[in-house]
């Protein structure tokens, strides 16, 4: 079954061309992509991820606010007992921050040099590793 991904665009930066390119590339790779538009709060992102029951949340941040937004998303997921939705990030993220993000549970960070193919490969690898869909099939 198709991998379901939420492409989220938090914060105040006002353009989502990159996020839309990503959404389309993932679609062309056979994924089901929920796109939620601009100016999402961490609360909105987590609510959408829960209701849509996605496999992966992809967060695009260009504004430099990643060190506040990612921890909030991870905390909200934690509070709601969600441990099976992978979070990945992309955009303009300083190299020094990447290990810090990984330390709080962000599975992968794609910098601005990453191609859409890198993204597709990365997401497919994470889904294969977490085996979310497979795990749930077994739970039935």
């Amino acid at each position: 079954m198709p991998t379901k991904v939420l492409v989220a665009k938090p914060g105040l930066d006002g353009h989502d061309r990159g996020a839309k390119i990503v959404a389309r590339a993932l679609r062309d790779a056979g994924m089901e992509v929920v796109y939620t538009g601009l100016h999402q709060t961490p609360e909105m992102i987590v609510t959408a991820a829960l209701q849509e029951d996605v496999d992966v949340i992809g967060v695009s941040i260009l504004s430099g606010a990643h060190m506040t937004i990612f921890p909030k998303i991870m905390r909200l997921l934690d509070e709601r007992g969600v441990d099976d939705i992978a979070v990945v990030g992309g955009g303009v993220i300083q190299e020094d921050d990447i290990p810090k993000l990984k330390a709080i549970g962000v599975r992968a960070v794609f910098d601005s040099d990453a191609t859409t193919q890198d993204l597709i490969d990365g997401i497919e690898r994470i889904v294969a590793e977490t085996g979310r869909a497979g795990a749930r099939a077994a739970k039935k």
């Binding site: 389309r24 609510t47 959408a48 849509e52 029951d53 869909a133 039935k140």
Partner: protein, 311 residues
């Protein structure tokens, strides 16, 4: 404003509902298995199902956003199931209906689920029917189903909705469009959205003429959903329809039954083709002994003979 007394559905139940829907979408559970994890509700059958359909870009999602607002104001809980098309080539999909409904995100009385249409061609997704049932089980009072942007013949919404609102926009065609078969036949309510654009009155008038000539009583309303104009009228018309018991029941049952028969036949056809019957048919096709029409007839005859045996 959401009424202070408005009911909510706890996030824990929303998550259970979300996962139950996924298990149906992915074929991991039957409706009975999936609903077993949700709270049992004796009044689940009373949930009011509104279908919103119409061509792409007519403003269906924006209208749904306004309807969510109206029903929340009235203190009811609302679930939305919004279907967008899957690519027939890659099976991928971009599900973008939520974009118009984001302001309800923090409201725990609202559940929004996007669905890719997958292999279904009727304007819904294969799992939409069961998702509606699950949302009702989870305790939602009003369930709004938004179809993919439809053309003229994707009419499956009739089989699931108590009331169908067909949303259109001005100047999509002349009055001949209103007398064609299909979409205009399933409306319980017409909404001419973007009514601030030229041609809105003309479009509404064409529809009104069509309705009068058909001898039915169907409201034709004008809205500017992006500004909230005309929404009161839509909600009034929906509430009128809701008050009529079983208004759409017979039509819905017809569609649901036909759909059930068709699904069963298609499933059986694939089973047959995957088995010995299929081996034989494909062998005879390759040898030229059968052409495609003859192969189809053989398959149909096999399925029908099984049906009569079962009787």
């Amino acid at each position: 404003m959401v009424a202070e007394t408005a009911r909510c559905i706890p996030i824990r139940i929303q998550r259970d509902l979300a996962r139950a829907i996924t298990s149906i979408e992915n074929g991991h559970a039957t409706l009975e298995e999936a609903s077993a994890k949700l709270p049992a509700r004796a009044d689940a059958a009373l949930a009011y199902v509104i279908g919103v359909t119409g061509p792409p870009g007519a403003g269906k999602s924006t209208l749904v956003d306004r309807l969510i607002e109206a029903y929340r104001d009235a203190g009811e809980t609302v679930a939305v199931i919004a279907v967008d098309p899957s690519s027939p080539f890659t099976h991928g999909a971009v599900l973008g209906d939520r974009v118009r409904m984001q302001r309800h995100s923090g409201d725990e009385g609202v559940f929004i689920r996007s669905m890719a249409s997958r292999e279904s061609g009727g304007g819904l997704a294969p799992a939409t029917h069961d998702a509606i049932a699950l949302a009702a089980h989870a305790g939602f009072d009003v369930i709004i189903v938004e179809t993919v942007g439809v053309g003229q013949v994707e009419l499956e919404i009739v089989g699931v909705a108590d009331t169908v609102a067909v949303v259109t926009v001005p100047a999509l065609g002349d009055s001949v469009q209103t007398i064609k078969a299909g979409l205009t036949e399933i409306a319980d309510l017409f909404v001419v959205n973007m009514a601030d654009r030229p041609g809105a009155n003309r479009t509404a008038l064409d529809l009104k003429h069509m309705v009068r000539e058909s001898g039915k009583e169907i409201a034709v309303l004008q809205t500017v959903a992006s500004e909230g104009t005309g929404i009161d009228g839509v909600v009034r018309a929906l509430n009128d329809a809701r008050a009529q018991p079983a208004g759409n029941a017979e039509r819905a049952v017809r569609f649901a039954v036909v759909r059930g028969v068709r699904d069963a036949a298609v499933r059986r056809a694939f089973d047959l083709l995957d088995g010995d019957f299929g081996k034989e048919i494909f062998k005879r096709l390759r040898s030229g002994e059968l052409d495609r029409t003859a192969a189809r007839k053989a398959l149909v005859a096999q399925i029908l003979s099984e049906v009569y045996d079962a009787d």
